[in-house]
Symmetry: C2
Subunit: 394 residues, 2 copies
């Protein structure tokens, strides 16, 4: 009996190893533990012109150090989600650039959009691709060009969100505790009475999403205490989000169904092109989040910044005694304060009586711009787009 018992024990151990090994090597069996990251890297980054250009939008620039914003986005989550489960959806023209910047991400995980259709089709495509590999996967949707000052807090918040999303019913979003009545962000109103705790953090039921408010409304939001900034980061099971597409964006859901059988086949690339051309252009916020019933939010503070204007770069950098941020080899200033100066040309930048401005020189252009006037930069970029003679400056 002892002998037999020992054999049985060995067999059980072997079976156990086989099972674990299967789980590791066969993702479809292992999916309930599996987090995938979907990085949306299709932006054209107009608000950072002239540093960001059509050839090198913001997410591909190293605005804050050695690593680009895309690389930092992947670095930040690498202990939670390894490169082989990172997916990058970008514009077709940037696929090579993404592969170059993220050599550890499998080539098959980098998908080029043939045409920009806002975020909903991008999320639908990613969910479809991931679900094919891993039907029970949870996906974390992250913009490629946000800054996170406290990565460990951020990871802990993602884990809470993933724990809540594990119910397979819920769309979870990350909300930023607001520091001031910002008019440049959308807001999330949560229900103060419906709260759960997952992995040591609160998860709140969302009442509604609110578009970018005017200042007065933003102040009311802050005063009411149950509004958060919409970070544009989401966590959900692929099955959950695909179900929501079926409910709220049936046209896109039809495209998903047409795409599914082609995945992994030689027709996949053409099918993705058909998918994009067939999809409505709509944001995931407007198309799904604002419509869905079962939306939760994890509130957090983790040094988040969407780096949406030169002002953000200014705010995040250290200043001299006159409040100037000088990212330039040589400069000299007289009666000038609170400016951002960026240049790599070696030219001397001299300011006289200049306040609250961004002065940015690249090899193509010189921008002089009110520091927080990102709309104005957009206007300039639109002027360049419209003028055939000026397009080369984009």
């Amino acid at each position: 009996m002892r002998q037999h018992g020992s054999w049985a024990k060995s067999f059980s151990l072997l079976a156990h190893f086989w099972l674990i090994s299967s789980l590791i090597h066969h993702p479809k069996l292992h999916s309930q533990f599996m987090l995938h990251a979907v990085i949306m890297a299709g932006g054209s980054g107009t608000r950072f012109w002239p540093r960001s250009t059509e050839a090198h939008p913001k997410q591909f620039l190293n605005i804050f150090g050695d690593r680009t914003m895309l690389q930092s986005t992947v670095d930040r989550i690498k202990n939670l989600i390894p490169s082989e489960r990172v997916w990058v959806i970008t514009n077709q023209r940037y696929v090579d650039l993404v592969q170059e910047q993220l050599p550890d991400v499998p080539a098959g995980n980098i998908v080029g959009e043939p045409i920009a259709k806002n975020t909903a089709p991008c999320v639908a495509l990613a969910a479809t691709l991931i679900q094919d590999q891993d039907p029970d996967a949870t996906m974390v949707v992250l913009p490629a060009d946000h800054l996170v000052g406290e990565p460990s807090t951020f990871i802990s918040i993602l884990q809470t969100a993933a724990a809540k999303a594990a119910d397979g019913q819920t769309l979870v979003t990350i909300g930023i505790k607001p520091s001031h009545p910002e008019t440049g962000y959308g807001y999330i109103e949560f229900n103060e009475e419906i709260s759960e705790t997952h992995k040591g953090r609160e998860v709140k039921k969302v009442n509604q999403f609110r578009e970018k408010p005017d200042l007065e409304t933003a102040k009311e939001f802050i005063d009411s205490g149950n509004f958060l900034w919409n970070s544009g980061m989401f966590v959900w099971k692929t099955s959950a989000i695909i179900k929501e597409f079926e409910l709220h964006l049936p046209d896109i859901h039809e495209q998903i169904e047409d795409l599914q059988p082609t995945i992994g086949s030689e027709d996949q690339e053409e099918a993705i092109s058909t998918f994009y051309h067939g999809c409505t252009s709509i944001s995931i916020d407007y198309g799904i989040m604002e419509q869905a019933q079962n939306v939760f939010v994890v509130p957090g503070s983790f040094g988040w910044n969407d780096v949406g204007s030169w002002k953000a770069v200014y705010d995040l950098r250290s200043k001299d005694e006159h409040g100037n941020v000088i990212l330039s080899d040589t400069s000299t200033l007289a009666d000038s304060s609170n400016n951002l100066i960026q240049s790599e040309s070696g030219k001397l930048i001299a300011l006289v009586g200049v306040d609250n401005m961004a002065i940015v020189e690249t090899d193509k252009a010189i921008l002089v711009c009110e520091l927080d006037n990102s709309q104005g930069v957009k206007k300039v970029v639109n002027q360049l787009r419209k003028d055939d003679k000026l397009k080369k400056y984009l």
Copy 2:
């Protein structure tokens, strides 16, 4: 008799030709008709940095067209004073540049100052050199970097000034009828009761010179009606000004006396160096004009501008519908008005929410400066002078 009469007539004619020929070829006999121009071209033009540099100050730049300011100064007077009677006093380092820009001016008329000693020594030197050639000469002192919009009026004013100066006693200055209470210029107060007319224009006795006033004082000047802007242009006989040096700047007069015997000799160059090292550094206004008794002024309006700041360039150029002066190959503007943009690099200059600024790019530097803050530009230039690492940008 007829024969004899005819011979006498011929002889008389010949003698007449000989006399005229002497007058032409012997300037010392012809001097009372002779106007000489002395162009002061030693300025370092700091207020136009970075377009004006130590190697190429303002007077050597073509800020307003094909010809440089120095060339335009000579062009403007060429029907009154031909090149052979034009003298240019400049810094030693610019002598070759002056000769290059003014090939018709005799090399001997271009004098390099070994050391900058303000305007009084410059005038003393010029007067000494001219008087040696032409003891009864009248000299017109002109800055090399002023703009004259109405040259024919200007010439007529110079003729009036020269006619008054012909008395050999008077120092004549050109005063500009003020258009506004400018605080950037010195003023000349004239006596309303003592007036003469020469060549159809009024000449007024000067009461006093006044330094740059504050705004309130400038307004009083304008209201009083007998104040003119000091243009820094003067007309006098060389003998008259040398007499004034003897009276008011005897130290410099001693230097004149030491210099005189060396002129035309091989010792001249060294003597000029000794002269400059021996002279006090003082302006002709402060050293002579404010002290002298017999000073007259010809009031005039001839589109004069001393082009003392980027604002002057702005004022003198045509504007687009938003009041911007664009001297750049390519630019694009959003919500920006009343700016001056100057660049030749081919880079796109983009402005967002920028008003009343000068944006000037050269191959060495980029200046962003309040349009009328010429003091600030000076401050920048002084900072560059003080910093060994930044000197190369001057």
